[in-house]
């Protein structure tokens, strides 16, 4: 092992040319990301048929409840991601999105249980599921990238945990935005598409966790 530098020399090196720093405010970073998500929503709202969207969502309570729970999961996950990126804050912040996530999973299960009882549930087309899968992956990509960029302002001591939460936030936000074009229909294919794409986005973010470290 190489002999370490004397502490005094390292301290002198670190203090030399010290520049003022802008304090990291996690609340502002959360708001910034949410504004970008809102811009995405605005962009999609222009292109989507909002009457059709509302009609689909109101067909069954689980459909709009799934949309609300995914939005809440995204909001709480992004707060948790930034809080775990701040040294000295409790790692228990990571538990924040779990109730909303459990609710989202529950509503997904409710939808599947509802469809299962219908006589023609086997006829459900794969088209909607493929669309869901592709949409969540594609929209998650820029949202994850922006989140990673903003998280680099923080100093995550547990980068994998922070990246997991960031992935969950991006995937949940993308799943919420998907409702503009395709409401969660509760079919097995759609359920697998949602769950699969969310897992892939989280896994992708975890793989890039090292990039969060400055």
């Amino acid at each position: 092992m190489s002999k370490p530098l004397p502490h005094d020399r390292l301290i002198a090196d670190l203090s030399r040319n010290l520049k003022p720093v802008r304090r990291v405010r996690p609340t502002r970073l959360v708001l910034l990301w949410l504004v970008v998500v809102a811009l995405f929503a605005d962009f999609f709202a222009i292109r989507a048929d909002l009457h059709v969207m509302m009609a689909h969502l109101m067909l069954q309570p689980y459909m709009w409840l799934a949309a609300i729970s995914s939005a809440l999961t995204a909001l709480l996950a992004v707060i948790a991601a930034f809080m775990t990126g701040m040294p000295g804050r409790s790692p228990r912040w990571a538990l924040l999105p779990l109730p909303a996530l459990a609710w989202w999973i529950f509503e997904g299960g409710m939808g599947f249980a509802h469809i299962w009882r219908l006589p023609a549930f086997q006829d459900a087309s794969m088209l909607g599921a493929e669309y869901s899968f592709g949409f969540i992956l594609l929209v998650s990509l820029p949202l994850s990238a922006l989140l990673a960029l903003l998280l680099r302002r923080t100093y995550p001591l547990r980068p994998t945990l922070t990246a997991t939460l960031a992935g969950l936030a991006a995937a949940a936000a993308a799943a919420t935005l998907l409702n503009f074009f395709h409401a969660y229909d509760g079919s097995l294919a759609d359920l697998v598409a949602h769950a699969g794409s969310v897992v892939i986005v989280i896994a992708g973010n975890r793989l890039c966790a090292r990039w969060l470290i400055r």
């Binding site: 502490h7 301290i11 670190l14 203090s15 010290l18 003022p20 802008r22 701040m86 040294p87």
Partner: protein, 195 residues
């Protein structure tokens, strides 16, 4: 550490965030005993505590923008120190897992440095070679000394001796052939005419 000294460190950090180098130096020096204590408490071996302390100092430097002066300073510092200590322990664990304890291999591994016996043998061979070169005819001796021993290029040797490059090459070839014959060295395939 008292609440007063914690407030003092927090004040120094706030000043450092504003670019005050003197406060920053005082802060980092003030953090040293605390960071070392955290590292020891986490189980970092004594010979690695200094390394962890320095990693923590660098981490403090990179993370200084994340400190909120309205919050207590010590939990912020302790979180960084504990995490870096755990990282150091994990790194050490991985390293220990890769290294193998095999004393026989260690003993038998040549250490690259010449042994005293090999050194004496080499010196004897060099002396014998020099003696043989000294007994060569003048032209061959000159070529062997300049091109073989001194490591001069053909151009340099030709310029200094006033002989042509071809003459030097021929003399070197003859000298090598004569030395091989005198010292009982059998040329390997393709080596006989390699001058």
């Amino acid at each position: 550490m008292t609440a007063e000294s914690e407030r003092q460190l927090a004040g120094l950090m706030a000043a450092a965030q504003g670019g005050d180098a003197a406060s920053y130096q005082r802060l980092l020096k003030g953090c040293l005993p605390l960071v070392a204590a955290v590292a020891r408490r986490q189980g970092v071996p004594p010979d690695q505590v200094d390394d962890v302390v320095q990693e923590v100092l660098i981490a403090i430097h990179r993370a200084r923008a994340t400190y909120d002066p309205t919050r207590p300073f010590l939990p912020w510092l302790r979180a960084i120190a504990e995490r870096r200590a755990i990282d150091a322990l994990r790194r050490r664990g991985r390293q220990a897992g890769r290294e193998i304890f095999d004393p026989l291999t260690y003993e038998n591994h040549p250490d690259g440095e010449e042994t005293a016996e090999a050194g004496l043998d080499r010196e004897a061979r060099v002396a014998a070679l020099r003696a043989e070169i000294a007994s060569l005819p003048p032209g061959q001796r000159q070529a062997a000394e300049r091109l073989g021993l001194s490591g001069q290029t053909l151009e340099e040797a030709a310029a200094e001796t006033g002989r042509s490059k071809t003459a030097l090459k021929v003399n070197l070839h003859r000298a090598v052939k004569a030395l091989r014959a005198r010292m009982g060295v059998t040329p390997t395939d393709g080596e006989a005419d390699d001058v």
